[in-house]
């Protein structure tokens, strides 16, 4: 259990990596909040003007691109073992998602399962990525 907690807390990373990781986290929070606010405003009928909807979408997209750029910078400057762990986790997340959701698509096509919601795909990716990070850190600890 202690090893899993250590893997989650990522103890001992250089300060610059922690700073860059915090920057990614901050942008990710801004992105998530902007997405939630946009969705709530649209669903509640407060945001009906198509120009404003497009503007809100562009804002969310812009912040999303900023998250991706911050993450790319983190990966480039990251401690090399942690970078390998991140790449392995990303490969696991993409692989599991591709295989899992293409399998689900076949079942969905046969009308054996309900239509897949996009948030399930995103959540699946995020959870698999997090599991990949923990496995990688425990494996190399």
């Amino acid at each position: 259990m202690g090893r899993i907690i250590d893997a989650i807390l990522v103890k001992g990373l250089p300060k610059k990596d922690i700073k860059n990781a915090n920057r990614v986290d901050l942008w990710a929070v801004v992105w998530a909040v902007s997405m939630i606010i946009s969705s709530v405003l649209i669903e509640s009928g407060w945001l009906t003007n198509p120009y404003l909807v497009v503007a809100a979408s562009l804002f969310v997209l812009g912040v999303g691109i900023r998250v991706a750029l911050a993450y790319k910078y983190l990966l480039v400057t990251l401690d090399e073992m942690e970078r390998k762990i991140q790449y392995d986790a990303l490969a696991l997340a993409v692989g599991v998602s591709l295989v899992g959701f293409s399998g689900y698509a076949v079942l969905e096509h046969a009308e054996l399962v309900p239509t897949l919601q996009s948030f399930v795909v995103v959540s699946g990716l995020a959870v698999t990525y997090a599991i990949g990070l923990i496995i990688g850190r425990i494996r190399l600890a």
Partner: protein, 69 residues
């Protein structure tokens, strides 16, 4: 890959954290390299060689090659 990092670090009286700071990597990376769980990149291996003033091949030994000899 086999390496003599732990012995070299011990000879200099450095802790794992000291070495990690000198090489600008995490302590976990030093631990993993010493245990042979992670092979460093070529730039990091050169950095270690410069730090210890030793050729790379005296710090890192190719396990597969040494077994075949």
């Amino acid at each position: 890959m086999i390496n003599h990092l732990k012995q070299l670090r011990g000879q200099h009286g450095w802790t794992q954290q000291d070495l990690a700071t000198k090489l600008d990597v995490s302590r976990q990376t030093i631990i993993a390299i010493e245990k042979g769980k992670f092979d460093p990149s070529l730039p990091l291996a050169f950095k270690m060689a410069r730090l210890f003033k030793q050729p790379i091949e005296s710090i890192f030994i190719d396990g597969a090659h040494s077994q075949s000899l």
